[in-house]
């Protein structure tokens, strides 16, 4: 295990972390801040990717596809909000779970009906397709840098919005006591609608940005959804900073675990059992991490105050 490889893997881990954060960002807003359990976040992410593929097919331009897909995601989000979600804000979390699970089934199947079951893909825009040399022996795809940048940007926007604007305050207030916000003269339903639409757009945005490196296929949002929840829970629900740090932590642990588990276990075990145990352990690692974090800090790393 050489030092350059270690450094490279650390970088990769951070990058995976930012990628995860990009996906978790919208969920932090809707679930963490607005306190609405939206299992459909994953399929909204998927929908963003599919829409981008479709618009790319129609326009042939990535930028146009990005813009149109974002708008369409927003539209879908608002539509879903109007038809389903607004009736569930003051319901039990579990009602939200079952309804949004229904939406998962519907959209996964719907996507398959419209676009077929085979995986699709979105090419990287020409100008951003190459790689750059970050350091000797380390070629880095430009698009990944773009993803990192957009993840950071999403985080900053979100943080600013939630922590430092009146909209953010009202959303946080509405999450704990919507009636009271409304009784003080704020149309909390409309506000929730806007925020929800924005959250959907963020999900769609993540889907669009990631489509060039991952396959676009039905069900692509399901595993991601779980990962995003892991991120948010480790970070502490409601804390954007926590989600960001947790995402990096998971990225690092997962990447390094995968890369070096075998080498580390070989210190204790014969090569052949090490080879079989290590991958199982690596798969478990993020869950192990979550269990340990929650054991030590039952409300995540950065528990939101006042919940």
């Amino acid at each position: 295990m050489s030092t350059t490889l270690l450094i490279v893997q650390i970088l990769n881990g951070l990058q995976l972390g930012v990628l995860l954060f990009l996906i978790a960002a919208g969920l932090t807003l809707v679930f963490g801040v607005m306190d609405f359990i939206n299992l459909a976040h994953g399929v909204q992410y998927m929908l963003g990717a599919y829409l981008a593929v479709m618009f790319y097919g129609l326009t042939g331009s990535f930028v146009a596809a990005l813009v149109l897909a974002l708008l369409a995601s927003l539209g879908c989000g608002l539509l879903l909000e109007f038809v389903v979600f607004r009736h569930l804000y003051d319901r039990d979390h579990l009602d939200q779970v079952i309804a949004t699970f229904g939406i998962i089934l519907f959209l996964n199947q719907g996507v398959k009906l419209v676009w077929g079951a085979a995986p699709l893909s979105l090419p990287i825009p020409e100008a951003l397709s190459g790689s750059v040399v970050l350091m000797p022996g380390l070629l880095y795809p430009v698009w990944r840098i773009v993803i990192i940048a957009s993840g950071l940007a999403a985080g900053l926007v979100l943080y600013g919005l939630v922590a430092h604007t009146r909209i953010g305050m009202l959303v946080r207030a509405g999450a704990t006591n919507a009636t009271m916000v409304s009784a003080l003269g704020v149309d909390i339903r409309r506000l929730f609608m806007i925020v929800f639409g924005f959250g959907t757009m963020l999900a769609g945005f993540a889907g669009i940005m990631i489509a060039p490196i991952l396959s676009v296929e039905p069900g692509m949002g399901d595993t991601i959804l779980i990962l995003a929840f892991v991120v948010i829970v480790i970070g502490g629900i409601g804390s954007i900073r926590g989600a960001f740090i947790a995402a990096l932590l998971i990225g690092l642990v997962d990447t390094l675990g995968r890369s070096f588990a075998v080498d580390i276990l070989r210190l204790f075990l014969a090569p052949s059992p090490a080879r079989t145990v290590a991958p199982a352990l690596a798969s478990m690692l993020i869950y192990l991490l979550m269990a340990v974090v929650l054991f030590l800090r039952p409300s995540g790393l950065f528990p939101a105050r006042g919940r």
Partner: protein, 232 residues
């Protein structure tokens, strides 16, 4: 300003209000009096649009309130200090105050600085979360929050619950000042003596119906109400 005509309302199948009528005129202080569970809070919740009346009429400044959502009612100029405080636990004190602040009718009478002056403790705790405050501090916050919406009519439901005597006295003084400035106020409180000094009208509710109305003099001289609601 606010007129309520034979209001009936309740929680689902449970009828609580049967016949409540009263008015609050501009610049007036009116109280709702009654024992526990008689429907005072229910009346207020119905006015605010948090419960929908099964019959009756509510008019505020010429606008019919029936069927309006709560935020429209608040925007029409009613500020609420709810029973049980209900401050926003996840917001800091300052955020609690500014989040819903508004000045819908000209320049604001109440600003952050004004509220902090009224309740200096809040200024000390401005960075604390709402749920970290003591009970009394939360009560002050709830009052400040309602004032920050600069309402035409201020409704206080047991706003002095849990406040220390000194602070309570300050609140009465403050309300008197507000009244002098022409602020209309609807009050529910169990401390009758200061209410007698402050209020123009009293409305007594019993089992969901208004059983008595009158001014402070009537109240002190009516033997039945006196026995029930005043210390003898």
């Amino acid at each position: 300003m606010l007129s309520v005509y034979s209001l009936a309302s309740g929680y689902g199948p449970a009828k609580v209000l049967f016949d409540v009528s009263f008015t609050v005129k501009a610049g007036e202080v009116v109280t709702l009096i009654g024992r526990n569970g008689m429907g005072k809070t229910t009346t207020i919740r119905t006015i605010m649009g948090l419960l929908s009346p099964s019959s009756g009429r509510m008019v505020f400044e010429g606008e019919r309130l029936n069927g309006l959502p709560p935020y429209r009612i608040a925007q029409a100029g009613i500020g609420l200090v709810p029973e049980g405080r209900q401050v926003f636990p996840t917001l800091t004190v300052e955020e609690n105050l500014v989040a819903t602040a508004a000045a819908r009718f000209g320049p604001p009478r109440w600003t952050l600085a004004g509220v902090y002056e009224l309740f200096p403790v809040l200024s000390e705790r401005r960075r604390n979360q709402g749920n970290e405050l003591s009970g009394g501090e939360q009560q002050m916050l709830a009052i400040g929050r309602a004032l920050m919406t600069n309402p035409k009519l201020l409704i206080l439901d047991e706003a002095t619950e849990g406040l220390a005597p000194l602070i309570r006295a300050e609140i009465w003084a403050c309300l008197a000042r507000l009244k002098a400035e022409g602020q209309a106020i609807l009050l529910v409180d169990k401390h009758i003596d200061p209410l007698l000094r402050l209020a123009d009208h009293h409305v007594v509710i019993e089992k969901g119906s208004v059983v008595w109305t009158g001014d402070s003099n009537d109240l002190t001289s009516d033997p039945y109400v006196r026995r029930r609601y005043l210390q003898i």
